[in-house]
Symmetry: C2
Subunit: 300 residues, 2 copies
């Protein structure tokens, strides 16, 4: 079986590498051509367009940053759809709106191509280790055909339901994570301004009902001022925008998401967009006139 | 050493019982007299006022529900302050505002009584097991004198700093927990309205960056409609009000807390105040026109 992979960024590159490592033939394409060099050197076949990838593949993965890129790569000029062989499966692991996912899947069906929306949780380290979690929308039998590949790139995969359900799940998940991060940022700033040693505060909250993966993963980054991105603030802001669109579509009320999105908008406007999402705490610190890491030093 | 305990509610009763079990003489007082019966039967000495408790004790614990009760019990007519022997220590484990904590401590100092603010994380089960976490404000040497008792009632205790610091820590902690709960409620409702099996959604979020103690502790309660209180929605609403007062005092900006407090106000207005705090999801469900547990059944 020959696998195609389009989009070799922070996530796509290690995902594709894991497929290659597990003995599959791999055809790759990336808009920035240099990003293909490293994989070409270890045996990947370089294609010159998404169409060429599709012509040579049984399953094509896409890992792109936005709705427009997914539409262009799959349905646009020289897109995957124009190179599709019989029984081609397209698996899109990008985080995009369910509406776009469903639209692209519907177009592909007209060309007898099956699609899955299969976004992931986890960031670069999990992509490298092959421990991502996939949440998958589309036909169940297509999910099952792709399962060996999900198992190579991830530690878990969940079949959620028809087209778009993977995307809905991913956006609700990221909205939850983002609000947990804001909850931590707000409480951490409150404690620090009250003169509480941030390290002790983290210990207290980690021992009870206030603990979360966000406290666990981000407290050290904040205290050590290490905002090198695991997941960029501007990408989370994009996801919150998509989640807000979903709320509108489903006619539900999401006040915490609404406020949270605005705070990430402010973080972006202040120039923190390309930093780790935990850099959002700098907004709170500026509003409070303190810096958590300085309070930590003073507490020593 | 003789210990006093005032306030024998859901938390106070098991905390007092653990002190007694560990061989200390215990003097108790509760406004509702019947609540003292069970402890009297196992050897506690019943007093008729906070003053009488103080007259017989070396350390007096208070575990009450609000600022006014703490002021009355300690400083009011027949209050602890009027029965204080030399070297009495008052340890208040109630969740109250740091301003009240500091005020009461200052009044006690005038009468040569030392005080600690020592609120706890954990609810009834942890109080019973003696696995609470104490966060303590006041003089360090007084904290150290009380440490054996914290170790009986809790698995951890943290000395945070001067008077009021325990209360600040507790309110920031509860604000964080409340926002995490709202984040879960909002995302769970979004997923359910999109037709995603709530059980699968919980599995997905529990495996990644969106996981939290609130998802862990509350998902089953929501799916099984078991809103018997571990911690009542109206008490959390009270704590969010106190946290908002702290934000004002410290001149910090807490938009998530602000919105979250309003949602718990709505939950209270709808009549969910005496249910578990997880009942706040019923607000979201009503706004969305769905019930998470029904979506779960339909998914089977």
């Amino acid at each position: 079986m020959k696998i195609g992979f389009i989009g070799l960024g922070t996530m796509g590159h290690p995902m594709a590498r894991n497929i290659l490592k597990n003995g599959y033939e791999l055809v790759i394409y990336n808009r920035t051509i240099e990003k293909m060099n490293a994989l070409e050197q270890v045996g990947a076949i370089v294609a010159h367009s998404p169409r060429e990838v599709a012509e040579q593949s049984d399953i094509v993965f896409t890992m792109l940053t936005a709705d427009a890129a997914v539409e262009e790569v799959i349905l646009g000029e020289d897109g995957v759809i124009y190179g599709a062989k019989q029984d081609l499966i397209v698996v899109d692991s990008s985080t995009i709106s369910p509406a776009t996912s469903k639209k692209v899947a519907a177009e592909l069906v007209k060309a007898d191509v099956e699609m899955l929306d299969a976004p992931v949780t986890g960031s670069e380290p999990q992509a490298i280790e092959g421990t991502l979690t996939f949440m998958v929308g589309g036909k169940k039998e297509i999910y099952e055909k792709c399962l060996p590949l999900f198992n190579i790139m991830g530690k878990n995969s969940y079949y959620i339901g028809e087209h778009g359900k993977g995307s809905y799940t991913k956006l609700a998940n990221n909205s939850l994570a983002a609000i947990n991060l804001l909850a931590f940022s707000e409480a951490m700033t409150m404690a620090a301004k009250a003169g509480i040693d941030p390290e002790i505060f983290v210990k207290v909250v980690s021992g009870g009902g206030a603990r979360s993966a966000m406290v666990e993963n981000k407290a050290d980054k904040v205290m050590n001022r290490d905002f090198t991105p695991h997941f960029m603030a501007q990408l989370l802001h994009k996801d919150l925008g998509l989640a807000a669109d979903v709320a509108k579509e489903l006619e539900i009320s999401t006040p915490m998401l609404g406020v949270g999105k605005e705070i990430f908008q402010i973080a972006k406007a202040k120039g923190y967009g390309a930093e780790d999402m935990s850099a959002v705490i700098k907004c709170y610190e500026e509003w409070a006139g303190i810096t958590v890491s300085k309070i930590k030093e003073e507490a020593k």
